[in-house]
Symmetry: D2
Subunit: 387 residues, 4 copies
């Protein structure tokens, strides 16, 4: 039944992108179940089988020039033959790539304008329907006008994520999914440009672990009118993203997307300490999360909740890409333009557009299904969505 | 603005009923905030100030004949003067009252029929609009016909909770809120009788602690299509309810209402061990909960979640009574009859009527607000509900 | 340098015995590190290389007649060729083998006396220096006289563990290590018989997980004079031992060895709930433990501690066998007779002899090292023990 | 039987010092039990009743000039009349007092030399036998010669803790107990000066919460030869000490005393992240600790342990002062000079003298009792220590 092919380009061929490519390959061959793909049971017209990895860029010299089949074993994944068709092209390092990465990038020796041109040639070549940013966390600010975007981009004042968004949207033929904390779907300039070009920008910062759980927990407490006294949340892991977060500026950027929901959900902002906390190599990609919440119950009594998790960070986000690439394609094709808060609110830590209100994730899920029913005629494979 | 008075009778003057009475008193005097009252900010026509404790029954010889002002200090609560007006009347012990309670009950020496008559005289006297059952956990079965109810009640084959529901509904002037695990709102015979008499039965088993959180957690996982491998949940506390649960039959009754939601939420029933586990006196009313959940994420990776809580058991349920007494009254007055699944699904572990489908609590909350808007013109005090 | 060979016979070829045999094989080949072997760095004259699996018995029809090489893959372990030399012989089921095991046992059809004779023939054949009991938990009572042992054994009134101990000690050529909760090293009759025959009985019930940690935690609190208010401890797992513990009598036997230390360590017995709690198959051999402890600190303030663990149950015990088989052999050879409380106190939940006082495990370790220095001239491989 | 009076001066009248003074007062009146006083049951010749608060200094303008009776209610403690006799004198702020404190200090307007002189006058007046430093955490370095101490002290290059130690030891009539992370008992210059003057310096940094528990946990794992892969430990609280630790330099000073034991106990230093992590006001003095440890067990299997605690920080340390003031006095009187590693190893995070080896706390406790038996004829009140 799959008549379309959705061409996906990956920006940042780290563990997330690699497990996405590997898992997609295994899914298409029926070798794994689609666990961790939220909409696996919802038919909205673009089955998983339609997805195709069209290209990949990275700036790590150990990966550039290698096929994904060669990259997979770097992450302990099996070298599926189909992955041999995609080769990692050099990307843009700018000033925002973490210092611990030895780079091989378009802007290693070329002037920025030439490097940008080379990236656009890669876009011409790869022809992605959807570009997905899964690079390392960078600090950034919202961008309000396209002129500001252009000027800063050429002065080298934008971090890599915003430069990729700039180049892709100016190129004008791909929707864009931003899964890291940079302001992309929350930059009015990018959303407006996407709207002009009939495209979509989804983002920012995929919400897979403790944050979305905390959102739903906060809603759970709010609905019982329990007064939250404080929230402490620690995250520690051993993957590259945690290593990058040891740089204070990146850490702050991440912290901001992790606690922005409190006011919207609770109606007030309780004292909180919610942060990526540290890097501890032996934890690997399976981060350790610890959270303490205390609140006032009826009669003034104080209750306490502690949550501890071991979460595979990258697979959870990779599962979201399976949906987001399909949704960006399908919803743009159905005529939506700019961004789609109903989708962002479910999948993202800081849902675009800028200053979109947070809702609980459980509520966001219902609202997203409503949108998919209306715009795409979505239905649950086995039973109607409304059941 | 309060024009109505809602007369509430409490069956089982334990810690829950006592903290409810005490807290209501403090709320009316403005001495505490309404934390833990879910609908405190929703105006549905019956403000908290309208509630009035009209009567109380118990079978514990240390309480019968005492005023609530005298009972409050037994639970470490201040003896508010207003509580002096309500005196605990003797109730029905039947065969289901826990053996560790020394009783002073209507059926201590009288034949059952006489004891039942005495209870009805008490109802005549107290004239409750709503009767709330907060007695100890009993084992029971659903009752399908009124004839069955009557026969078993007079043979002494029903546990106290079902006998109270029988007598109150036959009396025909009070709605009934059942907050313990007995089948009341899940007994078709009771719901049908309430319908005939223009009354409501809400129940069964108030969902305040780990269970509703687990429901929302299960929904959270389901929406991400994470495959739950197992759930273990332990509960241990030092209050009378945990003491009663050391009797295996009661424990089983409780276990059943604690895990019934899994199939409805997840679509399958994962292996689980979800139980009230033990009695440990020094924990007091602040139970300790420990929960372990593991699931499969994208690509076949296994994640783990551990939740530990210290929860004040009785205050949480007392806060619900502030809503449920008002809702039972307001919705019956608005013409609803039998039971109200939209309310039960939010507040209860096993929402009536029998075999009502579970939904997530967050979803149930939205649906309940919708009903309250439609039937009672409810609105959030500060801002519209739809915001 | 290894001049001795220590012949070890395994009674109960479950996961513990199998991972012991497999791990010993890998250790001898230098393929794994000796992690989890407490005395790996202590030279007391019997290196790990001296250990040899001489025989194995079980009553599970799926294992009897199979070599350990065939058994290993049943537990997900690699079929090391060296394991092919040991074949599982049929053992004694008696009335204490869990009902869920389909048996192939010496007493399936023979009278008890004949079955016992057959087991002694197996002992003649295998000639073990040390017999290690790692069968399933059974309920039992201490045995005070050899006459009582004999009478009950022939009437079929002893559980399998005590019958094995009876037959091995009567046979008189093997020391005995009991790693399950039956009263063996805590039965005066067995210790006395071992003494007469110049042998040792070590036991009872290997202390590998939450219990020894709780012992040291209790000591830690005691040394600061913190007053323990309560201890709750839950254990849930998915291996055969947890399945066996779903039978209440076995559960109680286990519970008793899990909390016996409190009075000895703390000087008083705080309210506690310490139990193997349930069976949950997907947890497998990696049990989940949750523990809550609260105490009074200076000035009357209450502190709280929660411990959650995922522990591989069987490997931890298997690592102990590597020591205990060597110690039983070496200490008997050095002239010790009966039992050795200094060893039992470190390795066991209920250290023999009967009513031996518990000490903290950290203290027990020091005292055991002192004994090994004195009796066996033990020294740390790299540096002197006293450092 | 108490013939001595031990005059104690408190430096830093924060929560620790205040709860110590308050609790001592309640202990003497028999109104509380000595929970949290490690040696409460050990008779070493100086009963608790002998302790007397002789003086107090602080630099907080809200406290200077107030009696301890007035200070107690600032921390929610009852204003015991006996506390009225001690008035807080102004101390030395130097450059190391946290910026958030509005000071009233001897060096607010005077030159340093004059301020130091004024402090010595206070010592002349108060005549303490023991001075206890419970000021806020400061960063510092070990001091090797008395000349270095003098020069830096007069240049204003020493943090307040080292200046107090300098002045007290030069004054030459009081032993010194340092309960914060500054190098005092770990500064050879201070230990040597104490030795010359027949005094003792005990320190550094009282070990009351997660650190000593982690030490014993590490020993527990080491004795089973489990290979620790990683340790993560977070601490968050809402008291002044946590607020002070938000300054990075102080945080680092604390971090160093929290993880120094790993190499000594384990024999290697596993990757770890052990830190005071943040300030969260609503947690108050009852900090939240979360710790994750993973290790390799027999056969290469990985186990995991999570510890979560709510610990009243200040009371735990206050209980130690009850011992340390008595020990400093009694051991100096018994002829010990310089410092006492057997005492420091039990009570301190970084036991003096500099580079003293860490042992497990349980072992340290035994060794301390041995010393007290030998030097002070100590015995357990109820039963002999050797029992």
């Amino acid at each position: 039944m799959a008549v379309d092919v959705v061409r996906v380009a990956l920006v940042g061929q780290g563990y997330v992108a690699t497990i996405f490519a590997w898992g997609l390959c295994k899914l298409k061959k029926g070798e794994i179940e689609p666990w961790g793909v939220p909409l696996a049971d919802v038919d909205f017209g673009v089955p998983v089988e339609d997805l195709e990895i069209a290209g990949s860029v990275d700036v790590d010299e150990r990966k550039v020039g290698k096929s994904l089949r060669e990259v997979a074993p770097m992450y302990g994944l099996s070298p599926e033959p189909e992955l041999g068709e995609v080769v990692v092209a050099p990307g843009l390092k700018l000033r925002s790539t973490p210092g611990f990465i030895r780079t091989k990038a378009l802007d290693d020796s070329k002037p920025l304008a030439d490097a940008y041109g080379a990236f656009e040639e890669w876009l011409d070549d790869v022809k992605p329907d959807v570009v997905v940013d899964v690079t390392s966390t960078v600090a950034s600010s919202p961008l309000y006008s396209w002129r500001e975007v252009e000027e800063k981009a050429y002065r080298g004042d934008l971090p890599h994520s915003q430069v990729y968004a700039f180049l892709v949207l100016r190129h004008g033929r791909s929707s864009y999914v931003n899964l890291q904390p940079a302001y992309v779907a929350c930059s009015p300039a990018f959303v407006e440009k996407a709207r002009e070009n009939g495209l979509l920008v989804l983002g920012d910062d995929g919400a897979t672990g403790a944050t979305p759980l905390t959102v739903d927990l906060a809603e759970h407490l709010k609905e019982r009118n329990r007064r939250v006294l404080s929230i402490a949340q620690f995250n520690i892991g051993g993957n590259t993203d945690f290593l990058a977060l040891t740089e204070p500026e990146r850490n702050l950027a991440k912290e901001n997307t992790k606690s922005g929901f409190l006011k919207d959900i609770l109606g007030y902002e309780p004292p909180h300490f919610i942060r990526p906390t540290g890097y501890l190599e032996p934890l690997g990609d399976k981060k350790f999360v610890s959270m303490h919440v205390q609140w006032v119950s009826f009669g003034g009594f104080t209750d306490e909740l502690v949550v501890n998790m071991r979460i595979n960070d990258s697979p959870a986000l990779a599962g979201y890409i399976v949906d987001l690439a399909r949704l960006a394609y399908a919803l743009a094709k159905a005529g939506l333009r700019g961004t789609v808060p109903e989708v962002n609110r479910f999948y993202m830590k800081r849902p675009g557009p800028l200053d979109a209100r947070h809702t609980s994730k459980i509520q966001a899920y219902r609202e997203m299904l409503g949108l998919l029913e209306e715009k795409l005629g979505a239905r649950l494979r086995a039973k109607p969505l409304s059941a």
